[in-house]
Symmetry: none
Subunit: 349 residues, 3 copies
């Protein structure tokens, strides 16, 4: 088996760029592509595979007259990650069109890792992707795919079998997917629960200082992102940050932590929304330490129309005493800031 | 020659900023910095503000003998966003040290937006940040801050008042924060609920094709990110993607949507974990359309030791019939793939 | 209040830069900006240089009535990397307009690295860039450039000479470009084919100007990435960019294009490697337009040991007349630069 792998490797290597329906790309793996011990994320590799597939699929489907199109991913076949890849290695992604039906394109993608210092090369992935060309004029229209030439009738026959098999499975999953019931009760519009949101972020090297602790600015950017989603979910319009209350950074967050950033609406005035944001850090690997609250803050958002003029905000529907209490506290902050703003204005005049 | 080079350096240095305690940074705002209608995210601006503060604070605290240090953000005072900023404008961020106590530095940051095409300029933010210098040798050690010179005793006095006020407020919030009880019941380790995770992502321009729909690869990367966090939470070791089952992309996801990616563990074998991942899309602004399931998939992860050899995985603790059923289905997929792998190996030999 | 706000704005504006035609930008270097041993990529620096040039060029060309425009990079003069830069250092990029012809702007950019922990500062780059203002209404239209004031007639005369020299060279390169053919072969270590590399990149919105054309800096960063892979494959050590020969940007690259960046080694001296890099643009969806060569350049790399001292480079193994010819041409460029460097040194002493 080792021999066969090497032969395949050598063969792939030779094929680097030959024909129209083939394409190769290389990229050095950077710290942000990998986890804390240097293993490249599977997701980074999947993204490169798909980009290579999209490029070759789009190019092929535009080699004819008629509507211009972009190849949209319809399906990825089961993909194995044969070897880990590391920071500093070069990933070589080569894509080839292996079958075309009337409305779809099969792309075979191989990924090699190359350690450019030792010269070691490994086949890390073989993936099969199916694309469908969607017209740029009308995205609902699937255009016809120009046929490719096969080296033998057997090759075409094998492709056809793969096509039929995946088509059958896609239809099956579509039905199966329908069955899945989302286990979340749907909250009432304009309630706190309706717009409540949270995100998780794995702290990468580029988020950190020389000590290996998260930059305050990185945390604030994530907090604003969550607050913005809460605000947009509430009023369904274009929203922008109007102000941020004082934020205290009591506890540091280390590289490799997972941070959960959660936001909930606490108060609405006529033209503004206040969102409370919490940041919790979870030092995954040092389990004994446990999750802890690292930062909290209040963000104020406003809603803008097309001329960037403030719009009215739908009032927050409160449920229970807790939410009522938080609303009152938010109102107090709102009035305090308003008074302060007017006082500042007075001073300046 | 050395002399001339030094003179040039000194000259350039003088040009770069007027005084030691001032610094300015400029950057063009790009599509990824803004929302779908072109307003720059508040979070982008907060991040730039903090980077400017960190540079000037770190520089100042290292202008003395003794331990080298990095300035860590301790607090941001209330910040207003006075005007929206747009894609293509240049943000000018200027930072100045305005007060120093024994162990902290106050930095005042101003942000101007400049439309380099029309020449229009606006003051968009004034922010005050407090930094604390942490030793690079021992991150728990706060080093002493060299004092700055004030233009007048009144200026120093005003700074001292701001310092006392924020110190008082920080202590207050610390106590208040302690009260907040995390409303989540803590699940038992190794249960499905314990490692279950989800993230939200606002679809930006760089995530999309020319049609304005999310690239399949972007979705897969986020799915792998969530699956990896689930796996790491379960076994608290270094984990890597081993394989991804076939994924079907039934429904497109449009620019401006919020996507929620959720993962839960379904099955563990001796040396692998299977994680089911769901992608739900929420077209925020087109509310009538509602949230819909866009993609689902199964990811298999393995746990590696320092020599990249597979480790044993703690078995999943099941609760209820649903979890039991999903486990059995996962086991069937696992055995099927194992059989297939052995068969492929046989073919090759 | 409006008056006070304007006064503050004016005051801040004055602080921000000394003159209208000057601009400075600072940024902390992060892990993703650097290679695995912490040396900042030459491409990262080239991208920052170009952003600074684009800001100041666009600002200047819009200080008049008539069409609004964006400054498009037409040419970068030969650039030397005088010192390596490291993760955690701050790069200060200052740009100044030094000459204007009727339709082009010369921008001089200096890059300083500052270690904010030790206080050490170094001049790392001096670059000269030429920009051409393209109308936002009609991208094929080059608008007139408002003249700058010179401190002396000699200064203006020197600028005019630089302008004439680069104009002549641009026309010359335009002709040279047509000849180049990419070759494919099986790799023997230290041969040209062994280290030859290419990458493809799908141009996204954040890569582009307001016109929807790729920023010159984005292209240069990709070129440096490929050149770096070629150099690392050849000598299997830590390598850094030493210089970039003059680059001419003959043809624009549009959003949605795929760009293929290919590099091959042309020449090795005792301690340096010269890599030729080609950029080809493929407007995927406009297939009839066909792929075209957009940019070519020569990068020089050196290999460093752990103390950042230059190492010997394995000599390039040449195959065939073509490679022999390119090697001779590379040698001529190498000797010419060496002579020029010695002459400059002589002048300064």
């Amino acid at each position: 088996m080792a021999l066969r792998q090497n032969q395949l490797l050598h063969h792939l290597w030779k094929q680097t760029w030959v024909a129209r329906t083939r394409n190769t790309t290389s990229r050095i793996m950077r710290p942000d592509d990998a986890n804390i011990v240097g293993n490249v994320h599977g997701g980074t590799i999947l993204k490169m595979i798909e980009e290579a597939g999209c490029i070759i699929g789009t190019r092929h489907c535009n080699t004819q007259n008629g509507d211009r199109c972009v190849a949209a991913l319809a399906r990825v076949e089961r993909t194995d990650f044969l070897h880990p890849m590391f920071i500093g290695e070069v990933a070589h992604v080569s894509a080839e069109i292996t079958y075309t039906s009337k409305h779809s394109v099969e792309v075979q993608v191989n990924v090699l890792s190359e350690n450019i210092v030792t010269g070691a090369k490994k086949l890390t992935n073989k993936a099969t992707l199916w694309y469908v060309p969607l017209s740029l004029q009308n995205v609902a229209k699937i255009i016809e795919v120009p046929p490719i030439e096969y080296s033998s009738p057997e090759q075409e026959e094998a492709g056809k079998k793969r096509y039929e098999a995946q088509k059958f499975e896609r239809i099956e999953t579509k039905e199966r997917n329908g069955e899945i019931i989302m286990s979340v009760s749907i909250p009432e519009p304009y309630s706190v629960a309706f717009s409540q949101s949270s995100l998780i972020h794995l702290v990468g090297p580029s988020d950190c200082t020389l000590h290996g602790f998260v930059h305050g600015g990185v945390t604030m950017k994530l907090m604003d992102e969550v607050a913005g989603i809460v605000a947009a979910r509430h009023c369904k319009t274009n929203i922008v940050t109007a102000s941020v209350d004082a934020i205290n950074f009591h506890r540091k967050i280390k590289k490799g932590c997972v941070i959960t950033v959660s936001g909930r609406m606490t108060f609405t005035s006529n033209k503004s929304m206040e969102i409370e944001v919490f940041v919790d850090a979870d030092p995954l690997v040092e389990a004994e330490k446990g999750k802890y609250r690292a930062v909290t803050a209040f963000f104020t958002y406003i809603s803008l129309d097309k001329e960037n003029k403030p719009l009215s905000v739908p009032p927050l529907k409160l449920e229970g005493e807790e939410e009522q209490k938080r609303f009152e506290e938010g109102k107090a902050r709102y009035l305090q800031n308003k008074t302060k703003r007017l006082a500042d204005k007075g001073h300046q005049q």
